[in-house]
Amino acid sequence: MSSETTVAVAIDAGDLPMGGGLMALVRPALQLLEPGGVLAVNSCYDNLQDDLSVWCKVKQHEYLGNEPTPVAVEVTGAADKSNIPTQRTIRHLIRRSDLSVPKGKRETDMRLSASDGKLSAEAVLSAVPMPDSADPRSGFAPRGAQVEPGGPRYPFDLLDRDHVAPPEVAKLYDQAVESQWDGNRDIPWSKLPTHAPGLERAIGQVFTFLAENELSALYVPSRFVSRIHPAYAEVAMYLSTQMADEARHIDVFLKRARSGGAGLGVSSVTTSQSLLSLLEVADFTEAAFLLSVLGEGTFLDLLRFIEDHAPDDVTAEVVSRARNDEARHVHFGLVHVRHALAHDAGLYQRLENAVRRRAATMAGAGGVPEPLQDGLTILAAGSTSPRDVARGHDDFRQLLDEMHINRIKRLEHAGFTSEQATTLSELHTPNFM
């Protein structure tokens, strides 16, 4: 060792032994150095060189040696600091290895500041933008962390920002968190009136259908969360809110079905076939398109229909709250698909193919599941009297027309031509979701 060696960082290690906290000073100090940079450890602990040199060997750092130093060091527990310079101190020099140097630069001057007392995920995303693509070897390292090389490859396969993360995702996450509600407390359950058995059975059937479809809306995103690279964590975080929403919807829909005396209705094969064809979609963007743009988009019209015809405030409140959540899900689906379409010219055709494939699996399934048709008709009628039922039937037919028109609007909004939108809307599942 030469006293001429240029020291980049020096630390006061006092009389700390290696097993007594010394490494909590040495290791972070080395992290501050570039490979090849030299750390000076000023210590008055006897024989530290034997331990430090072994540790350096294990970690592939170079122990350059030691020399007496006039530097004063802090002695643990010394009450009178003025006595410290009388301690014999040794300066140990360590050259940082070029192995295991974390990738990326350490975040510096990262001071997120609150706006109106709030610190949003959107502000974080703005400060730490997502990369164009992500390395599966960085594992669960948060975006912005330095990552040691040599980590295992994770099974993430959604690695491309433009197919995974629309720019609006953090804002939608913020909105979702702020909009959470409590299906236990926030619904006026005690105000539910008693309805005629025929009407209540219809309501039980409608909510059975809603809960079944929301179960699929809970499971479908869950299949993609574990595939999303954590560099795009806001997408997984957003989807977790969407899943929490669906969990709450399942909860309140089943509670409503079971609160009026009728209980649950029938699960139809048409619904089951349709939801399986959705669950089996392996592509994230295709699934978002089928679930959120087409499925949940159509559900917005359905929930509005139920709310408009709800015979009581409890039923109306349940679907109204669910519809607010679903509107956010549709929004995410739209921005996701639109962002992906803008960066992938072949995606239009793939999405159309996905709709056609799904329609093919549903061939021969018939129209809207019969138990649901009947339930919605009686709900709209408000009773089982033939005159009311005739009106309810008209309302139901009108609902189907509205769903078609609004689907076309959403598809056009997502970037499809009018002709494409019409074709895709007509091919959409009769199960709505």
């Binding site: 097993g19 007594g20 490494m23 034997d50 331990d51 592939q60 090389p149 040599g150």
Partner: protein, 271 residues
């Protein structure tokens, strides 16, 4: 000696991870164009016999097994490589801070915990070096931890027993390798107000790949080429290197075993 082109290596199964290590290295060697397989032994004595009998091409040996192979081949055996971490090992004398022991000369009349009878770093060499440093071992009460005999101290278990004995007050001083001492400290397992190192032995070297003098030169070339091509920055290699406790394979050197040869001769250790 195996006659096909496959390099057959012997290693001792001192830990379940040994299977993962050598299966990984086998796959790597085969992919690197060096056909390779391995057999596991339960102890180094059996492995050395198998090497000397030509049942395996190469043995991954502890220093004691290395010295034994050299003894039986009259110095003609081939040393093919070692880990960076095998070079410049030391033994330590760890004492209880309340023992009054400041160095080897203070050991007389004290209880000295030592590792397994065949542990180079925790028994054979520290006793050799302590004697050289002036300790009167005839006046020392040895507390022996003969665990995992046959594994030559690879498991590290006897060294942990030595440290436990010191913590529990069952010994006043103890000998361990410096790797265990430093790793136990950095892991936060040592109360430094209770235990401290007061003496460090001269350096010595540890494990070595040994082969008989007549090993096929093609096998030697293929083995060493593939071995030294492993790099820390390759994630697949790194996984194996980490398991085996090294960052870089090194060319062999012999001077690091001189002290062990002297120690086994002095202690009458049967080779």
């Amino acid at each position: 000696m195996p006659t096909d082109s496959t390099i057959l290596l012997g290693a001792v199964a001192y830990d379940p991870k040994v299977v993962a290590i050598w299966e990984g290295i086998r796959d790597y060697f085969n992919d690197a164009g060096a056909p390779f397989d391995f057999v596991l032994f339960s102890n180094y004595e059996r492995q050395v016999k198998a090497l000397l009998a030509g049942h395996v091409d190469i043995a991954w040996n502890t220093p004691l097994a290395h010295v034994r192979v050299q003894h039986h081949t009259k110095g003609g055996s081939l040393s093919l490589g070692m880990r960076d971490s095998d070079q410049d090992f030391h033994s330590r004398l760890i004492v209880r801070t309340d023992s009054g022991i400041a160095g080897p000369e203070d050991l007389a009349g004290k209880r000295l915990a030592v590792g397994s009878a065949d542990s180079t770093q925790a028994r054979i060499l520290p006793l050799h070096f302590l004697k050289e440093a002036g300790a009167d071992l005839t006046a020392v009460d040895l507390v022996r931890f003969d665990t995992d005999v046959g594994k030559h101290g690879d498991t590290g278990v006897s060294e942990l027993h030595v440290l436990d004995a010191l913590r529990n007050g069952d010994a006043d001083a103890g000998t361990v390798g410096d790797l265990i001492w430093v790793m136990e400290q950095t892991a936060g397992h040592i109360d430094t107000s209770l235990l401290q190192s007061v003496w460090t032995s001269p350096p010595f070297d540890h494990c070595m790949f040994d082969a008989l003098p007549d090993l096929d030169t093609g096998k030697i070339d293929r083995f060493t080429s593939a071995l030294f091509a492993m790099t820390w920055d390759n994630p697949e290699h790194r996984r194996l290197l980490e398991l085996e406790g090294l960052k870089q394979w090194m060319p062999p050197r012999e001077e690091g075993y001189d002290s062990l040869r002297a120690a086994v001769a002095d202690q009458g250790y049967a080779l």
